[in-house]
Symmetry: C2
Subunit: 338 residues, 2 copies
DNA sequence: AGTTAGCAATCAAATACAAAGAGTGCTAAA
DNA sequence: TTTAGCACTCTTTGTATTTGATTGCTAACT
């Protein structure tokens, strides 16, 4: 366990490093952080902190840099609270009042807001569909050979898809489709849809296979479709000094380009609504130079999607987490009447 | 006008430079390009080509590098034809046979194919909507307070949007909406939709404003919405040696992040279906280090969207253009019965 | 007149070396 | 327990030197 002064020193080092991106020296701490000890004393503390693994040293004659363990302690115990200005609060409030008709849009707006305020890159993904139940399926005829299927879930999410045919479809057929599909699929969860659809195809062979088959294929496809991932402020990262290393910059682009990796990252284990993964704590090795804060975005119990912030290990965790907490609160206040 | 040998030399220099990304020396041309002259002769030709502006010299003791003017001549007159292997043809054919239900998907697949084969980054945008005519609008009630509007154009493009209400909507109302909107808007072009909608709002004030107004707003919004831009293979660029310059890499990310710039670029003047912009030829200064090839992607007269390839000035124009031409041909062959 | 061998001149890139400067770790004293 | 003092370490910066590739020019050759 660290004593109080050690924690203070660690906190000062981390905050200084977050600000400057330069290894922090004992001298600069004495000058700028009101620690009423000589640099030699601080040096002793720093040596201890390094021995316990909270700090790293790039080389003998440089200052200290926080290790992942150091950041972890900082995030868990030392965060400044509510690190967010009045202007920022105003900006957030305005953005969140934008009227939206689709859940994805709200997630996008929130991700954009976070990116604007924190100056980090965000990635976001819509609400997970696979646990939701199908409330209703509607088929609509567009022209004579094009059908749109609209699928509505119990939480109000809407998915739609278009199916084209080589033969004309009649209004009568559409009616039948509506009736039959709702019969089979209503109340089914998205991720277990395969079975009912197969049974269905088998049962209804009397119905023209040319019509039924493409419909089923397309619906399966849409429901299993990878969630779309949205990116905000990818170029912001390049203003940070750590991205002057080509190695790091390349890695970053690579990560952002690997959709599966991001999806994994956003969907991985959620103990809390806000989760912090620091550098090597990330499971994927490509992420070792970055920190990620994920934010499960919801109103009450209703899942609105997940937003991830990806930045350097030297991320301003305090700001990021404050913003997320504020948004979460605001969103629930705004909608408590829903 | 350049004589035949000068053209041969220029072509050899450009192709060598495209391959190696290193300034090309007189000696290497003699060794690798079967030019039956001594390096001194080639040197004289190179000096002439430089004087006429087709070549640049990084410094006195380096080889030569093509200038924008040099690339331009190459693209206009010296391209190798049909620079595309059998395997590549096979790969393209397979990819293009993927069945799609929406035009945007086809554009995405094509963009992806081009990116895979050329190893360059592609950006793409769906077909332009503003010239299209509204064929039909359908309203569908989802639940009791959510309406979906589906808009169908004369060329078969579909746009849909969701509108939420604070009050219940009845089936009867939906019927009326369908009738009224189709009456007013059928046959109208997308980009001139404002006027009819305003008249409409004015005419039908008897109808509940709470219902009509949000619908009109949302429809206007969707129709004027910026086209979505899709990106393929952004990280591929970082394997190219020119992206070892942080300056260039940053610029590249910046360009890709500026949606308006890309939209401009994809929509700008089309003399031909395939257009090449080399380095400084691009209007926007940010693009001065890159070349862009745009490809208006269509079947017959039907616009399918536009695809842009963005790469270094040292792009393999021959390959890129061959691939585009082949895809264009293939697409029209596949669908000549449509 | 066109071509080429030969060679000095040029310049970036690599290598080597020498300070300079920032910061630490340790010792001994307060 | 704290701290002043100082030697030690290691990066950074600057400067000079060498190396090597390539050109441009001249004079000879076809």
């Amino acid at each position: 366990m660290l004593d109080d002064r050690k924690k203070k020193v660690l906190q000062a080092i981390i905050e200084e490093y977050i600000n400057t991106a330069e290894p922090v020296s004992s001298g600069s701490l004495v000058n700028n952080y009101g620690l009423n000890f000589s640099s030699a004393t601080i040096r002793n503390e720093m040596a201890d902190l390094e021995k316990s693994g909270y700090l790293d040293k790039p080389h003998t004659s440089a200052g200290r840099v926080p290790s992942a363990k150091g950041y972890r302690l900082y995030v868990d115990e030392l965060l400044r609270d509510n690190d967010i200005s009045l202007e920022e609060i105003k900006y957030i409030s305005e953005k969140l009042e934008t009227k939206v008709n689709e859940i994805e849009d709200l997630t996008k707006i929130t991700a954009n807001t976070i990116s604007e305020i924190t100056h980090y890159t965000t990635v976001s993904i819509g609400p997970k569909t696979n646990k939701q139940l199908i409330e209703e399926i509607k088929f609509i005829l567009l022209g004579s050979r094009m059908l749109m299927a609209v699928i509505l879930t119990d939480t109000g999410l809407v998915k739609e898809t278009i199916i084209k045919f080589d033969e004309d479809i009649t209004d009568r057929q559409v009616e039948t489709l509506n009736y039959m599909f709702n019969n089979k699929l209503k109340g089914q969860p998205f991720d277990k849809i395969d079975r009912p659809l197969e049974e269905f195809l088998f049962d209804e062979m009397t119905y023209s296979v040319n019509v039924i088959k493409p419909i089923i294929e397309q619906i399966k496809k849409v429901l299993q479709e990878d969630e779309k991932i949205y990116l905000e402020g990818a170029n912001k990262a390049f203003d940070l000094p750590e991205f002057n290393s080509l190695e790091v910059a390349k890695n970053f682009i690579n990560v952002l380009d690997t959709k599966e990796l991001i999806a994994d990252m956003l969907n991985s284990g959620f103990a809390q609504d806000i989760n912090v993964y620091i550098g090597e704590e990330n499971e994927n090795d490509k992420l070792k130079d970055f920190s990620i804060v994920t934010f499960k975005h919801k109103i009450g119990d209703k899942d609105l999607g997940t937003i991830g912030i990806i930045g350097p290990k030297r991320m301003d965790y305090s700001k990021v987490i404050s913003v997320m907490k504020y948004i979460s609160k605001k969103l629930n206040d705004n909608n408590q009447n829903n």
